[in-house]
């Protein structure tokens, strides 16, 4: 064996690569592989689209009922964020309205610009800015809930300021003149004459914005708030059943916002009735 190998060694060294049988076997295998690819494959990269949903998936009432406790937890997170955000909006909006009415241009112009800017840009990006942006550029850190409350508060403060402005403008000019004639201080004029008449006029609009804020609050899902939207997407990922959780929160929103809209309409009618 060893003698044969030693005698054949020089022969292998001098033989051309094309005369080695291994080369031909490799070439034939490669061509055969290409032929098989050509026959079996197609020219375009496509994937099968047989990812149709399970046809046996049916609406499942026991499953819906089993989800209710989690949904109520999530609802409380969203609802409290809305309420806190709206309290912030009502207070901040009043100062924005005063700032916009200010005699000094140095106050009124920047405030008007801020209101216009915040009103015409999406809340989603404002939340991104408060949650991711500020943390990336400054040492300010907000938790998810704080960022949502602050974002909702500022966004709806600009809306509320318009409601207040309309309310203040609806106070008849004679009230201002009477206050001046009675030599009231500006602070007294505001707190005793104008605001008590302006706020009831603004109340229905403020109520509408509370409902609108509640409808925008699930956006907090984008900055990891564990509210209604988080509940629905998590359940969808866990059980692969998107229909029940999403329709549940949809119906949940209708159950809250329709009665709220009805109450606001009644409030509006009642206030206008009182004033006649």
């Amino acid at each position: 064996m060893s003698a044969q190998a030693s005698s054949s060694e020089p022969m292998i060294e001098h033989r051309s690569i094309w005369k080695r049988p291994v080369t031909w076997v490799a070439i034939v295998a490669f061509v055969a592989f290409l032929v098989i690819l050509y026959v079996l494959g197609t020219r375009e990269l496509t994937f099968g689209t047989d990812v149709a949903p399970d046809p046996n998936l049916k609406w499942d009432w026991p499953y819906v009922i089993s989800l209710i406790p989690d949904m109520l937890n999530a609802l409380s997170v969203t609802a409290f964020a809305t309420v806190y955000g709206f309290i912030l909006a009502v207070i901040l909006g009043f100062f924005l309205a005063l700032g916009r009415r200010s005699q000094s241009r140095w106050i009124s112009w920047p405030v008007s610009g801020f209101i216009e800017f915040v009103r015409s840009t999406p809340l989603l990006i404002q939340l991104y800015f408060l949650f991711f942006g500020l943390a990336s550029a400054t040492p300010i850190r907000f938790s998810s809930n704080q960022a949502l409350i602050l974002g909702l508060g500022i966004h709806y403060a600009t809306y509320c300021s318009e409601a207040y402005r309309a309310g203040i403008n609806s106070v008849p000019g004679g009230q201002w003149e009477a206050a001046t004639a009675m030599n009231l201080k500006p602070s007294t004029t505001w707190t005793r004459v104008i605001i008590p008449q302006a706020i009831p006029n603004a109340l229905p609009a403020l109520g509408n914005y509370l409902v609108a804020g509640f409808k925008d609050a699930p956006l907090g899902f984008a900055i990891n708030v564990t509210g209604l939207m988080f509940f629905a997407t998590t359940v969808r990922g866990r059980d692969f059943r998107p229909i029940e959780p999403f329709l549940m929160i949809g119906v949940g929103f209708l159950l809250v916002s329709l009665p709220a809209a009805w109450l606001i309409r009644r409030l509006e009618r009642r206030i206008s009735y009182d004033r006649i």
């Binding site: 689209t49 047989d50 990812v51 149709a52 949903p53 046809p55 998936l57 800017f117 009103r119 015409s120 840009t121 999406p122 809340l123 989603l124 990006i125 404002q126 991104y128 800015f129 991711f132 942006g133 500020l134 943390a135 990336s136 550029a137 400054t138 509640f214 409808k215 925008d216 699930p218 956006l219 899902f221 984008a222 209604l228 939207m229 629905a232 997407t233 969808r236 998107p242 229909i243 999403f246 329709l247 929160i249 949809g250 929103f253 209708l254 916002s257 329709l258 809209a261």
Partner: protein, 246 residues
């Protein structure tokens, strides 16, 4: 100041996203205006059942959160309807359009109610059909009341389009995330910007789009007002008519 500006390639990416935002706004606007016209007119129908259907639709579209409607459209509707691979752009536009239609129907209804009743009575007296009355008498006059709130509503829908990034479409908001995450690539060249700079730039871009919409609506309003003024000029010479009959 230059620290607040992004790189040209990043701006290009954002502009591509902005174009998609404008497109999806266009689709939902067309659907929204159609729905608001139809349901705004149906809200004033004489038939109680038709009125009830229109009321149900507007209350539904206004009562449900637009983000929830969008997610229902994107995830639940394809399964309920058995669509294997749904067109997300279409579904998102439908969701936003449905939402806009609810609010728009109320605007149109208010506009139609603002037209003096004598106009309706006069057109009935002139033997115009219902459609003619609506097309030539009522809607042109209601337009002056309809347009300003419609412009605000369109800006609200523009703000709503930012939500489509959450279901995986690459609009301006989605492009922002792509451009920002692209900075993490080892092949990235140029200055890396913080997330805050990206957010501010995108906010300004949305603001510019909103102002453009505002401007368009203002011009449209001015044109409609001008038409009204000229109409007055044509109809005014009543004395001439009296003089001619003498």
């Amino acid at each position: 100041m230059s620290g607040l500006l992004l790189n040209p390639s990043q701006y290009q990416r954002l502009l591509e996203g902005a174009w998609f935002t404008v497109q999806i706004l266009g689709y939902s606007f067309v659907l929204g205006v159609f729905l608001s016209l139809v349901f705004g007119v149906l809200r004033l129908s004489d038939n109680r059942i038709v009125r009830g259907i229109a009321l149900t639709y507007t209350e539904f579209a206004r009562g449900i959160s637009s983000i929830v409607l969008l997610f229902i459209m994107a995830y639940a509707v394809p399964i309920l309807m058995g669509l294997p691979q749904a067109n997300l752009t279409l579904l998102a536009s439908i969701a936003l359009g449905l939402n806009m239609g609810g609010y728009g129907a109320e605007i149109i209804r208010g506009g139609i109610l603002s037209v003096p009743r004598g106009q309706t009575e006069a057109s009935i007296a002139l033997n115009l059909t219902n459609n003619q009355r609506l097309r030539h008498i009522i809607l042109p006059q209601a337009m002056r009341v309809i347009l300003p709130p419609m412009g605000n509503l369109t800006i609200e829908i523009l703000k709503g389009t930012a939500l489509v990034s959450l279901i995986g479409l690459v609009d301006l908001t989605g492009a922002e995330a792509l451009a920002f995450n692209g900075q993490a690539a080892p092949t990235f060249e140029g200055v890396r910007h913080s997330r805050a700079v990206f957010d501010l730039n995108v906010l300004v871009m949305y603001f510019v789009i909103a102002q453009a919409i505002n401007l368009l609506f203002r011009r449209f309003e001015a044109r409609i007002d001008a038409r009204f003024e000229s109409r007055k000029g044509e109809i005014a010479p009543v004395e001439d008519a009296i003089g001619a009959s003498k």
